[in-house]
């Protein structure tokens, strides 16, 4: 299968001597097209840093990150914005939506930025909203809808321009368990239907169990990987749980 993402010996440092902090330490993994990969790890282990480096918002200090055939290190700063527009989708725990835009406009924004004709935007956004069951709140503003609805909107926005890779940083972090499950189901569904690869950071084993692979990050290093092979989601969940407790579960939340 073709590779969407490959991270090769990525290293990232913050600060300088004597306060040098190694946030990523020889991180090495690959994600192939259509996968749904979760990254787990305790707070401060470098999850967000890793995601930011992949998303071209930040840069690594050593090693390589390839998105498709593009080496991110050789991507000039001015082109990175355009690259994000065309290849990536994002979902975060908070600050996902623009407060001044309606739900529908929030979803349409990535397309408008790409200068796609208004008619096409309208129909794409409409059909996506119907599929996600949020067409009735289309005209509302983020402050007027629930957290779950907001995240579904964020999800729609991440997939609307058919990105190669969707990056999600604790998308369920601020949600109650019901809304969280709904969102994860949605993510899985979109992952299947839209053929978009998903890389999700989480510290919740249940969330991680929706994916087909889990990477465990600690002190900037990947020290374990779990794959879901002919396993039910519940079994996978238990496998993750036991791994987490072996890992030193307390550190996770």
């Amino acid at each position: 299968m073709d590779m969407v993402l490959s991270v090769e010996n990525a290293e990232k440092y913050y600060g300088r001597e004597p306060n040098l902090k190694k946030a990523l330490d020889r991180v090495d993994f690959e994600v192939s097209a259509g996968e749904f990969v979760s990254i787990m790890g305790p707070s401060g282990s470098g999850k967000t840093t890793l995601l930011n480096c992949i998303s071209t918002i930040d840069t690594i200090d050593a090693g390589h990150i390839y998105l498709g055939s593009q080496d991110l290190a050789s991507l000039p700063q001015q082109k990175s914005a355009r690259f994000r527009q065309e290849n990536l989708g994002f979902i975060f725990q908070d600050f996902n939506l623009l407060d001044t835009l309606s739900i529908e406009e929030n979803i349409a924004l990535p397309l408008a930025i790409k200068d796609i004709p208004a008619k096409e935007i309208k129909s794409t956004v409409r059909s996506l909203m119907q599929r996600l069951g949020i067409e009735d709140i289309a005209a509302k503003f983020p402050a007027q809808v629930s957290g779950g609805q907001k995240q579904r909107c964020a999800c729609a926005r991440a997939f609307v321009n058919k990105p190669r890779l969707v990056l999600a940083d604790e998308p369920t972090g601020a949600l109650d368990s019901v809304s969280a499950r709904q969102l994860l189901a949605l993510l899985t569904e979109l992952n299947g239907q839209e053929k978009a690869t998903v890389l999700m950071v989480t510290h919740d084993p249940l969330s991680a169990s929706y994916g087909n692979r889990v990477l465990f990050l600690k002190d900037g290093q990947i020290n374990k990987e779990l794959r879901r092979v002919r396993q039910s989601r519940v079994d996978f969940y238990h496998a993750i749980l036991s791994e987490v407790s072996a890992f030193g579960g307390a550190g996770l939340c």
């Binding site: 914005a81 001044t100 309606s102 924004l109 930025i113 935007i121 309208k122 503003f141 007027q144």
Partner: protein, 654 residues
Amino acid sequence: MLKKLSKRNAKRQAMDYIIYIITLVITVVLMLSFNMVVFSEEISAIIKEPSILPFLIVVVSIMVVFIMGALVNHITVFILKRRSREFGLYMLLGIENEDIAGIFLRENRSIHGFILAAGLFLGTWFFQAVKAVICGMYAVPFSFSFEVSAGAVILTLFYMGAILGISSVRVKRAVRKLNVRELIYFDKAASGDGSGEAKDSTPMALLSVLLGIVGIAVMVLSAVRNLPDIVNVLAVTFLVVSVYGFFVLLFRRLLSCLKSDEWKYRGSRLFLYRQLTAKMRSMLPLMAGASMLVMVALLAVGQAICFMDKVDSRVEAVAFDIAFFKDEENADFSPYLSYLDENHELESSYGYSLYTSHDDTFYQQTKNMVQGKMGFYISGNDEDIFMCISDYNRLRDMLDLPQVQIDSGSYVLHCTEPGIAPLADYIGQSPFLIIEDAQYRFDGIYSEDFMQQESKGNGNGVLVIVPDRALSGLDFHTCVMAVDTQSELPLSEIREMETIGSGISIISKTGVRNRSASMAVYTVFPLLYLAFVLSAVACTILSVQILSEAKNEVNSYQILDYLGVGQEQQKKMMKKQVALLYFLPVLPVAFIDILVFPMMTGRIVRDAGGMVQIISVAAGMKQIGIAVGLFFVFFILYYIGTIMLYARITIKKR
């Protein structure tokens, strides 16, 4: 501990409200330098005559105290709101309200101290510029000499004390009443422009725009016929009010634009205009208020420049460098001529007599056109004045004007420009002049500068020139000696000549410049003072509001980052957004001003055929140019400051 905290906060706060602080410094600078105009001995040596300037500056200063007091109050409450979380936290930690008020006031006090020190320092320098302008108007050489008057400083401190002190009292009271819950939720505000639930203010807006149209109509009407001042003031008030309507309607229009997918889904437009409407919702009254202030300010500057312009043109209208008048046939002007000869090389002189018919037909035609409209028109003479053609041509020769030929049966008129149309109108009806049974036919009208606007001169706005033989039918009026000198005389020499003899009136360019410069200074300075304070207040309100919201927008720009909008493009969007917020208030003002200025500065006259025409609009245009230019510079500076701080908050802080 609390003191340290307070000090650090004051420093941090200072960066956030730097624009507000600069505005206060500018206020102190203006206050001090204008008060120094009143107190300065140098200036009073230039102006000489006792004047109402001190009184006017005090009046404007009191207005400024109220305006600035309102601003300081607005901003202080604003800062209090912005820092409510911090204060709420202090309260949770068990610090008494009194102490929190103390912290806040201590911070303010150190900022105020800085403002006063900086303002007083810069003010003494700015005063030199003010002095240079005054010297320029009086045509007195400017010399840089440093002076600080205790009176001006004390008065300035008194005014600033009033501005800052009142707000301190109010803050103290406000903080005392606060409770923790209120503070912690103070800054919670919903976003989005909530276009749905807004109450419909369109009828009000339409009404106020209608008022604006009425205002413009009145201004036009008042240019054609003389309306009482109160009507004009009312018209300006209507115009000012109509600005509010403009903003409400514009806001509605933007919202309805945002309903169209075709319109909004185009590049960064969606983000830009949603940001704009969201801000306009909370800023609408502020923008309208700022706009009104700018409007008043621009009108004030326009008037001020109009006055300043008149100084030169009035001096030009004197035409002769100096002229002596005596109501006595064959008067002897030789002492004056020899005085001039001793001091300056006397260039040329010509003595002549003016005559009168004891009638006032011509004078009555022009009277109404010249009076009012700030024409500097003062004269006691209300009879028609006559001159013979040979004297007339000699005088024209002195002024390098072409000669005029008339035959023995005709006459010509010489009048000031506004008089042309009504005189032409009158002559169309009765073209013949009768002097002692002889009939004279009208043969032309001239309007070059010819000393016709002062208390003495070649007629009061109009002069009748007749063939020499016609003089026998007229009575003697005044003896005149017109003189051209090598250079413009200093005022001191004019004063000296006045002491030579009695019964003589002297009209000179120098004297006229002095008198009209004084009048201009009385109007120009208070108006400029007011104008700058008003526009500084408008800019500050806008800036502080825009910048305070910038902090909440860090997230928005971060999201744009992720969505693939580059930093360069984000900066462009920011500039556009702030420019829109900043210059929208100027838009209706510019529009109204372009309509109103020619009306105020130009003159509409009716020519002989009954056609209405506007004259001296060009001068009006020049005034708009200068006034708008001045404001443009002022606004641009504030805009640049705002955009820099805005970018610093939203982009660089990440």
